[in-house]
């Protein structure tokens, strides 16, 4: 069973079950979201329904990342293997916190951008979220730029994160990848 045991023998081999479920669920949503966002800005026919999908998915990410952060800060996480250099583990740590920051910042800038542009924030048909900023061309421009630059950055970070994870899974086999799955450490 994947149940977390707190034994005096040391940190767990796996992230707790909440973290693992949230990680893979959000991975799927975020990757989908990035392509939904790109499709919205290019497609001749799909923008309206992609936009109707983008907003509820974004709010879902915002809620999930809050739960994830609380969970992350409340429980012990697996230690990185001793084989990793100090630089590597620092870089990995920084990337992870940056990823969390992006997951928070993207939905918030999206919501704020729609507010500053005077648009309705359509969560579901007939259910709109409140505006969180007054209408302002400056804020709209700033938030729109921030939202798209961060989306591109997040995509690059996701590709980097995935590549590093696969390297650990297939090449180093040091238990980093299995700590976020249900598998045993190889």
């Amino acid at each position: 069973m994947a149940r977390q045991r707190k034994t005096p023998s040391g940190p767990p081999a796996h992230f707790n079950i909440t973290a693992r479920i949230l990680h893979w669920l959000m991975a799927a949503i975020i990757l989908a979201m990035i392509f939904v966002g790109l499709g919205m800005m290019t497609s001749l026919t799909w923008r309206p329904w992609l936009l109707d999908l983008h907003i509820p998915l974004g709010i879902a990410i915002l809620l999930l990342v809050v739960i994830r952060l609380i969970n992350r800060l409340s429980f012990t996480v697996p230690k990185l293997p001793a084989s990793m250099s100090g630089f590597q583990s620092k870089a990995a740590g920084t990337l992870h916190w940056l990823l969390y920051a992006m997951m928070l910042a993207l939905p918030l800038t999206g919501w704020a951008q729609l507010s500053a542009g005077g648009f309705l924030i359509k969560l579901f048909p007939g259910i709109n979220l409140p505006s969180i900023l007054p209408q302002s061309p400056f804020l709209y421009a700033l938030l729109h730029d921030a939202h798209s630059v961060m989306a591109w950055l997040l995509f690059l970070m996701v590709v980097g994160h995935l590549s590093a994870a696969l390297l650990h899974a297939w090449a180093y086999r040091d238990g980093i990848f299995s700590s976020i799955t249900w598998g045993r450490k190889n």
Partner: protein, 377 residues
């Protein structure tokens, strides 16, 4: 043993290949990861329209000249904001749960504009005039719309619009469009002949006030039982339609239509009826180039009162994206491809001009006349 020998060698080869792969495992793993990463990046670039050369909504704004004055709309640059209200008649209620059909008085913000992209165009330079409108009901739902005095769209889809622009581009050598290219376009989009004929023969309007504005695209009303009714609508003026002779028009002053509108509004408000046309099951809902028969049921869902106009540089309608796909609960979009394409195109136009205004690059468009830059004139 000839055969045995051969299979022995095959086995040898197979084994050595496996051994080889095993020794180079790391290399293969790294190549595999590189492949996965680059596939993702390529998919991203394609989705963003950076590779593959597909037509995206960005393609429609490619022709915006680099000298285009900052802060103006990319299409229909010359316009004037208006304020007023919409009074529902209640006759739309059986067809749609949208609050605007039931509410007594709905505040309205809108814009009258000329069809030319040039914000300094003389009013007699185009036959196209438009009304953009946003109604905000008391449940918070917004109904944004964009209406033209043209009764239908030239082509059945949005790509046709690009091809039409391309075909009618004047040849730099002769100053007129290339006949062969125009013919090729009309062969691919035969429905556009109807538009060309209309454009050549229909009278030009002499006033914003007497023009009928048509939504052109199709939408679907949803009633309280979820029943769907495809519709189009028009803003039918209370003022009579007036036109003029070609010579009168040619002699008209630079801002004749806008001056006329201001003068009329000094005397009192102007009115348009919101006329819903209900489609029959045989009517082409997904083709804005085809008119529905005139015999279709029409419903006057209410009346728009335009009470005052003000300069678009002062704000109001200036920063509003009149994206017609932003409809209230109770109205949904049809599969009309021209309607769906508008969403992205309007968004790019809105983003780029609000960016210019927000970052302080706009001059004339926001009324900063001291740095007046009329490069496009």
């Amino acid at each position: 043993m000839h055969f045995g020998n051969q299979s022995y060698f095959i086995n040898m080869k197979k084994n050595s290949l496996i051994t080889y792969i095993r020794t180079k495992r790391l290399l293969f793993v790294k190549c595999g990861i590189l492949l996965i990463g680059s596939t993702l990046i390529l998919a991203f670039a394609w989705a963003a329209g950076l590779v593959g050369g597909r037509t995206t909504t960005q393609t429609f704004l490619k022709d915006t000249p680099s000298t285009f004055p900052a802060g103006y709309r990319r299409a229909h640059g010359k316009g004037i904001c208006f304020e007023g209200n919409f009074r529902a008649s209640g006759r739309g209620v059986p067809f749609s749960v949208a609050r605007v059909f039931a509410q007594q008085i709905v505040p309205a913000v809108g814009r009258f504009s000329l069809g030319s992209p040039d914000p300094y165009a003389p009013d007699n330079s185009t036959r196209t005039v438009s009304m953009a409108l946003m109604l905000t009901a008391d449940d918070g739902e917004q109904w944004r719309m964009k209406l033209n005095n043209e009764p239908f769209f030239a082509t059945r889809d949005a790509e046709g619009f690009l091809k039409q622009m391309e075909a009618y581009k004047p040849n730099p050598a002769t100053g007129t469009p290339d006949l062969a290219r125009v013919e090729a376009f009309l062969k691919e989009y035969p429905e556009a002949k109807k538009y060309v004929k209309w454009d050549a023969t229909a009278p030009w309007t002499r006033s914003f006030a007497g023009a009928q504005y048509n939504v052109i695209n199709s939408f679907i009303l949803i009633d309280e039982n979820g029943k769907k009714q495809p519709i189009r609508w028009s803003m039918r003026p209370h003022e009579p339609f007036t036109s003029w002779s070609v010579s009168q028009r040619k002699q008209a002053s630079h801002d004749v239509l806008f001056d006329d509108l201001k003068k009329r509004l000094q005397k009192g408000p102007l009115y348009w009826d919101l006329v819903l046309t209900l489609a029959d099951s045989v009517d082409p809902v997904n083709d804005p180039s085809q008119l529905w028969p005139a015999s279709r049921t029409e419903i006057v869902a209410g009346t728009l009162e335009v009470s005052q106009v003000f300069d678009q540089a002062d704000g109001g309608c200036r920063d509003v994206n009149f994206d017609p796909t932003r409809v209230p609960n109770g109205i949904i979009l049809s599969d009309d491809p021209v309607l769906l394409a508008r969403a992205g195109i309007y968004s790019h136009s809105h983003n780029s001009r609000v960016r210019e205004i927000g970052y302080g690059k706009a001059t004339d468009a926001v009324g900063k006349h001291q740095n007046d830059n009329r490069k496009n004139k």
